[in-house]
């Protein structure tokens, strides 16, 4: 038993290291070469910097790369955590943050604001609003007698997502050509340079703390609603809370970076595959792994076709799929682990 605990803690330490590497890698990569020593000295001295004499490199690191890195990390972590919660909520290992159609509403709102040529701040806030409206739809339609049935929730969500998908195609077809590139970029997900990282980080931090406290309950809830009830958990309340939390996380991630696929589905799975099963460790591990995966992917998206940028969603899938398949092939299904 204790070997497992040791192993799980070891994995968590490894993920911390990975996160650090991902962040440094992300700060390092870009058109202009800035060596590691410079990066560290900029980061360390920035606390008491004066605005009067800023070098170009300081500006690049502090105003461009650092916010972008933090946004990438936050988005990845939000998505991965949302995916984990959805999987527990729906008791389905195949669930991802977009499965309930929450991103669809965000996409419609985002596309409309792109079509109208609204500013970025509008784009982000409208897509968040769209996601919340979509969430209320799923919530209202799938509730029966004050309780959630995961199956009903899943079906409602999937059908609604299909509906949003049709609307998205409709908007794309109607849109003039010069808008299309931006729209596709948004739909595939990409992390821009320009906005604040702080709101997303606050949401991430608060929801991480909530999840950490809920982790023992999540460990029980995966065994089914009735079992959880019989062990003393208020499943109605917990379901509602998980649904709200997962939706807010997804809405936040989508409004920062569009619909980046794959992170939410793959990260919790990858961690389960390598042997993390206790949610008390799975929750922090998901945050770290999701964050670093997206940070890496975002750095690559800036490097590969530089100075052109790729939508990061393409990269996450291109990195994630082979890694996942290799682990699945070599370690087998989760049940033959150990």
């Amino acid at each position: 038993m204790s070997i497992y605990k040791r192993y799980q803690q070891f994995t968590l330490c490894g993920l911390c290291l990975l996160t650090l590497i991902a962040i440094i890698f992300s700060l390092h990569s870009g058109d202009i070469q800035i060596n590691l020593q410079q990066i560290f000295s900029i980061l360390l001295t920035s606390a008491h910097r004066t605005t009067s004499h800023l070098t170009l490199t300081t500006k690049i690191i502090m105003d461009l790369r650092l916010p972008r890195t933090l946004n990438a990390f936050t988005t990845g972590a939000l998505l991965a955590l949302a995916g984990l919660l959805m999987q527990v909520l729906l008791r389905n290992p195949l669930a991802d943050p977009y499965i309930l159609g929450i991103s669809g509403g965000a996409a419609i709102a985002a596309l409309i604001s792109l079509l109208l040529g609204l500013s970025l701040i509008w784009l982000h806030s409208l897509s968040f609003l769209g996601a919340m409206i979509s969430m209320l739809f799923v919530f209202g339609l799938s509730r029966e007698r004050q309780s959630f049935s995961p199956l009903r929730l899943l079906l409602t969500g999937i059908v609604l997502a299909t509906g949003w998908g049709a609307l998205i195609s409709f908007i794309l077809i109607l849109s003039p050509n010069h808008n299309l590139h931006g729209m596709l970029f948004w739909l595939m997900g990409s992390i821009g340079y320009q906005h604040l990282a702080l709101p997303g980080m606050i949401v991430l931090f608060i929801s991480y703390i909530c999840c950490q406290f809920l982790a023992p309950q999540l460990n029980i809830l995966i065994h089914g609603e009735l079992r959880a009830k019989s062990l003393g958990i208020h499943t109605n309340r917990l379901h509602l809370f998980l649904f709200l939390l997962a939706s807010i996380l997804t809405a936040c991630a989508v409004s920062i970076a569009g619909t980046i696929g794959f992170v939410g589905l793959i990260v919790p799975h990858l961690l389960r595959l390598i042997g993390l099963r206790d949610h008390r460790l799975l929750v922090p591990a998901t945050v770290l792994a999701g964050g670093s995966l997206l940070t890496f992917a975002d750095s690559l998206s800036r490097i590969i076709l530089a100075p052109e940028q790729l939508p990061v969603g393409i990269i996450t899938a291109l990195i994630g799929v082979p890694i996942f398949l290799v682990i699945l092939k070599t370690r087998g299904l989760p049940n033959s682990l150990g």
Binding site: I220, H223, R227, L231, R277, P334, G338
Partner: protein, 265 residues
Amino acid sequence: MENHAMKNLLTCRALTLAQKNKLLCDDLHWQINAGETWAILGKNGAGKTTLLHSLANLHRPTKGTIHLNDSDITQLSRRVIAQNIGILLQQQHDAFPIKVHEMVMTGAYPQLTLFNRQQQKQFHDQALIALKKMDLLPLLNRCVTTLSGGERRRLAIATLLLQQPQVYLLDEPTNSLDIKHQVATLQHFRYLAEQQNAATIMVLHDVNLAYQFCDNCLLLMDDGRYLIGKTTDIINQENLLSVYQQAFMMIQQQNNTYWQAQCPN
């Protein structure tokens, strides 16, 4: 111990359970005391599981009340109920792979408080005892999804043993167990009732097991009527026929009574 012997644990008053125009149980008055062993018998769909779920507050009765230690069960928090009432569900659900030793620890959940390591250690030791009782020690590090049906059942029972409630509600505890484990399991539950002042209520399909391991019996008929009393008093050919619409033969041998279903021809 002695003065607790007749302690009243669960009381049903005027309990009525109905489902979509079908009356499962009509106006049931039932008192379950510490130290008692109960069997619930009835045909498929007679409402045995629904009744058991109602006793654990997993199902809201149509009418009537259930009291646990003199407080209305609907007024108690789920945690308090789980500390007093443990239920073995008919089916378990394992979509996520976890290990046997992790699964059994879920039984400690109602007793655990956050951040108490001492307690964790103590439950670990008790978990090993529960697993040993169910012959699961060799499977400690196996993943639950690789277990056979009977092994999973034993794991669910071990988990329930770790929960250490006062009232054990068992929905077909012998399902998919081999004969040896059926006997050992029921014997252990009998021991818990008689020596540890617990109460056990089990849904069974085997009249002989009920006769052998349960002192009291509740027979649920199809139309919501019921018979309640000492097993030896109410299990007889006439009552079995009216519960199951199936004739039984009584076989007596060396002071033991056995029941054998008769084939129609």
